[in-house]
């Protein structure tokens, strides 16, 4: 299964995404930001990083890259698109996902292992609602904001929330002040998803966790179904 990983200037985790997808048996291919061509990809991943330095709002410039027009068309046709960290920010800026990401509550970059509670698995997660995943976060601007988080949840658009190891969601488990502890969301149709945690950094036990495979692995199946 061919998965396109978009490389913007300033992307940092694109090689990690490629490595993780290969590890899970996909055929990843890097797609250049300046070319409006998805090269036959059946699913798209927007990786983490600091596109264009993120000197403006994170993702604010990357949304205008030529490739993003092709991504929007692909998403419109129901193609699966996953944004990780900076990729999530880009998808929110591009209005392919609801809400926005702002500076962490503590105003510091934060990197740590993070427990996530599965809310609505949809096609994106190989884990039931209520399951707890161990996937790292690392970001400076990951505070998710949305006017109606309850409505979003009711619509089944909340993918995962920050939680404790036992699944409890509260402020102490929340690394960045995201509203209602939301760590990842989907669009209304469910084919576009974004999350701040990094599943591509959690596919090898040697590096700490394999829970990321439950998200990235699902990308592959989501692609097949599209």
């Amino acid at each position: 299964m061919r998965v396109g990983v978009i490389q913007f200037p300033g992307s940092c985790d694109e090689r990690d995404a490629v490595r993780a997808l290969s590890h899970l048996g996909a055929e990843p291919v890097l797609l250049w930001h300046g070319t409006a061509d998805l090269d036959g990809a059946e699913a798209i991943v927007l990786p983490g990083g600091f596109t264009y330095g993120d000197y403006l709002r994170t993702g604010a410039i990357a949304q205008f890259a030529p490739v993003m027009g092709a991504v929007a068309d692909f998403a419109e046709r129901g193609g699966p698109v996953l944004g990780i960290c900076n990729g999530f920010q880009v998808l929110c800026e591009a209005r392919l996902l609801p809400g926005a990401l702002t500076r962490n509550e503590g105003l510091r970059f934060i990197h740590r292992r993070q427990a996530l509670r599965v809310e609505t698995p949809g096609t994106w997660l190989d884990a039931p609602a209520g399951a707890v995943l161990d996937i790292p976060v690392k970001h400076g601007e990951g505070r998710y904001v949305h006017d109606d988080p309850d409505g979003l949840a009711a619509a089944g658009q909340v993918l995962v929330r920050y939680c404790h190891a036992d699944g409890t969601v509260d402020d102490d488990a929340n690394p960045n002040g995201s509203v209602a502890g939301i760590a990842g969301v989907t669009n209304a149709a469910g084919n576009v998803a974004g999350l701040m945690p990094h599943p591509e950094h959690a596919v090898e036990a040697l590096l700490g966790s394999t829970d990321g495979a439950k998200i990235l692995g699902a990308v592959l199946r989501a692609g097949v179904g599209a």
Binding site: P9, F109, H111, P136
Partner: protein
């Protein structure tokens, strides 16, 4: 055209630029005329302490630099070592001490950017950073401001460019109050046959400036910041522009990806980054290395400010720039590749026959000088070497009576700012990008996967100003041994080292005495432990007013490991495992220890002596019997009680141990005598390990066993509740540093 216009009032200008009258005379003699302003500026930065090593060269020659794994030693931008199977790694440590005091965020950020470009210049992809940091008293608000800025700066640059920060140190001492030490080590990986050299190849090759535009930032940084005048100027409030460069991590990231593409396509005949001393340094070094000359038209240099003078263009330390040499038929492809990444690339001249640098600007020749005179023929000083004598060194550190309340004393040690794990610092760094960090911050050494089949490297940095202040020569030996031992604890074979020599003014004989002693100690230890020095950095003039910092050599040791999946951690693995002390028995060793500071409030005596052959035997054992030990953790700052607590907490387990009766209880717990490792072994492997230790002639002693309860019981002495210790540690540094969210 013709000859450069003589500088007006050249003697006065020379003095302002930090050149001595004798240095000025040599410049006139070399050129056979009065130098131009641009030439004087060029000589002043190239002959600065920072760029020329003029005070340290005669001593650095004594360091061991050769080994069978060494592909590139000192003199290039960074050392390169062979890790096997056609793979190599490049690594080096650099300092950005003075800029980090002036402007902590940018000072630290550009320190990261600078060392990354050194590694990139060698042809390597930067894959890991380690930051040994030293600051003043954490209770001082100024220290808190500097720590915060430095940590944010390292994260701000490192996190944004996709290079993980995997380790380092955080240490505090009043001697660094007005002069923090911000050292940064970078590791890069490259195919062994793709090493790039900072050397011109053939006349006619085009000099291409790649990266950021040139501005007035950082002009004279190398000569001024790292100089005698720095203090007075900084304190008086500089009339001119700030000397600290400003980093742009996005431009740095583009430069990494662009250069790697140029290397892969074999498009370059030479490349040099622009760090201290700017264009003049890159041009002079590449030309001199090949015995060739270079012609540059400075009007072609893209600038970001108006009315820049020739000397400003030459000496600017604007960041994220490289000077590449490209044969004419490859020029178009180089320019096209750079354009694709959105990075400026501008031909500004060419390599020429002869040995001269010939630069023009606005219709005039501004520099016409032999490249070697700038790059290689700077002054070399045999500074007077006096005796470094710390006032407390004559006391007997181990004669003090035991503390009245031993448990309280141990708690002071465990919550000392140098001992507490700085998790709040690590949490601000991305340590995992690259998908190669097998062991990140918090272990003995960082373990990084280099190849897909699991070959990797282990890297540790260590320094200890307190030991070195009391006895620079012994201190240097201890520091090298500790870094190498940390690497060996993971099971990796230490093969090479890089050094950052942080000292006060070389013009003070006692400081040079400490420097010379340090080199002696470092040479002996590196020789004995098989870790030649492949490069590094000397940073002088680290002092607050007249008060010197402790002599602080910081060493980075790199080891190789065939299979990173087998790398050993520091944490106890299973309840019931036996705990052994291996290497050497515990000896009295409180001179310069954390105990001495935390409990006695002094710095006195001598650091513990080290037996290098015993150290070598211990490290060889740790490497050869990597798989037989469940954990290994060295005993260093804070003594064995610190080691035991860390092994327990890392493994989420407890321990019961029996102290060695030969030393007093407080010594047993807190002595920092070297060549000791606390290892755990499953009962199944115990006989095998014991027999191997006997056969290798490595001292060993059973200490106790690992338990499931979260307590550390030292029989007959004390019992620590480990949950309580962890929570006291978690709040202590946060408390000491004030505004931090621990």
């Amino acid at each position: 055209m013709g000859t450069p216009t003589p500088a007006p009032e050249p003697h006065t200008l020379a003095k302002e630029l930090g050149l001595t009258p004798e240095e000025y005379r040599r410049i006139e003699e070399t050129l056979g005329r009065v130098p131009s302003t641009a030439e004087l500026g060029s000589y002043s930065v190239m002959w600065s302490e920072h760029a020329s090593y003029k005070s340290s060269k005669v001593h650095l020659r004594n360091l061991p630099t050769e080994g069978e794994r060494i592909l590139v030693g000192p003199g290039e931008n960074a050392g390169v070592v062979d890790v096997g199977d056609g793979h190599a790694v490049s690594f080096k440590i650099e300092s950005h001490n003075h800029p980090s005091y002036v402007e902590p965020y940018q000072g630290a950020a550009t320190g990261v950017g600078g060392i990354i470009r050194d590694i990139l210049t060698m042809g390597a992809r930067p894959i890991a950073l380690l930051d040994p940091l030293r600051f003043g008293d954490p209770a001082d608000p100024t220290t808190r401001r500097i720590v915060d800025g430095v940590v944010r700066g390292i994260g701000g640059y490192g996190n944004s460019i996709g290079v993980p920060t995997v380790g380092g140190e955080l240490s505090f001492d009043a001697s660094y109050a007005g002069n923090p030490l911000v050292n940064v080590l970078c590791v890069g990986s490259l195919p062994a046959d793709r090493i790039q050299l900072a050397q011109a190849e053939s006349p006619g090759d085009v000099a291409v400036l790649i990266g950021q535009r040139t501005g007035r930032d950082g002009i004279g940084g190398a000569s001024v910041l790292a100089s005698a005048e720095f203090r007075e100027g900084a304190e008086a409030g500089w009339a001119g522009r700030g000397h600290v460069q400003v980093g742009d991590p996005f431009a740095g990231k583009l430069l990494i990806e662009t250069c790697l593409e140029l290397y892969e396509r074999e498009l370059l005949s030479g490349i040099q980054d622009m760090g201290a001393a700017g264009i003049i340094c890159s041009a002079a070094e590449m030309a001199a290395a090949a015995g060739l000359g270079m012609r540059l038209d400075l009007d072609l240099v893209p600038v970001r400010e108006t009315d820049m003078q020739a000397w400003e263009i030459l000496c600017s330390e604007s960041q994220e720039r490289m000077l590449a040499l490209v044969s004419p038929e490859r020029l178009d492809e180089v320019l096209e590749r750079c354009g694709r990444w959105g990075i400026d690339a501008t031909p500004i001249g060419e390599v020429i026959e002869g040995d001269r640098l010939h630069f023009t600007y606005q219709g005039d020749v501004v520099v016409d000088a032999p490249a070697k005179s700038l790059a290689d023929e700077g002054p070399v000083y045999e500074r007077p070497v006096g005796v470094w004598a710390h006032p407390g060194a004559g006391e007997d550190a181990d004669a003090a009576p035991p503390p009245g309340d031993l448990e309280a004393a141990v708690r002071l040690v465990l919550t000392d700012p140098d001992i507490v794990p700085p998790a709040w610092v690590w949490s601000q760094y991305d340590s995992i990008v690259g998908s190669a960090t097998v062991q990140g911050p918090g272990g003995s050494a960082a373990v990084i996967r280099v190849t897909d089949d699991g070959r990797g490297v282990a890297v540790a940095t260590d320094g200890n100003g307190r030991w070195c202040a009391l006895d620079p020569e012994t201190g240097a030996q201890l520091v090298v041994a500790e870094a190498a031992r940390n690497v060996a604890c993971t099971g990796a074979q230490p093969i090479a080292a890089t050094n950052n020599l942080n000292f006060a003014s070389p013009e003070v004989p006692a400081v040079m005495g400490a420097f010379a002693g340090t080199i002696r100690g470092m040479s002996a230890a590196c020789e004995s432990l098989g870790t030649p020095i492949t490069g590094g950095n000397v940073s002088f003039y680290n002092q607050t007013g007249d008060r010197p910092i402790h002599p602080t050599p910081v060493i980075g040791v790199l080891g190789v490991v065939d299979d990173v999946a087998q790398a050993r951690g520091i944490g106890f693995a299973e309840a019931g495992d036996e705990i052994l002390l291996i290497g050497a028995p515990t000896r009295p060793g409180l001179g310069g220890s954390v105990y001495q500071r935390a409990v006695e409030g002094r710095l006195a005596g001598r650091p513990p002596a080290i037996d290098l052959p015993a150290e070598r035997a211990l490290q060889a054992f740790l490497v050869e019997h990597a798989s037989a030990l469940a954990s290994a953790h060295d005993v260093a700052a804070g003594g064995i009680v610190t080691t035991l607590v860390e092994s327990c907490l890392d493994g989420g387990l407890g321990a019961v141990v029996t102290p060695e009766p030969e030393v007093e209880a407080h010594q047993w717990l807190c002595s920092e005598s070297p060549t000791r490792v606390v290892a755990s072994v499953s009962p199944d492997h115990l006989d095998e390990v014991t027999a191997a230790l006997e056969a290798a002639g490595v001292a060993h002693r059973p200490l106790g066993w690992v338990t499931a309860e979260p307590t550390l019981e030292v029989e007959g002495v004390l019992t620590l509740d480990l949950d309580e210790v962890a929570s006291a540690q978690a709040t202590s540094l946060a408390h000491a540093l004030g505004d931090v969210d621990a």
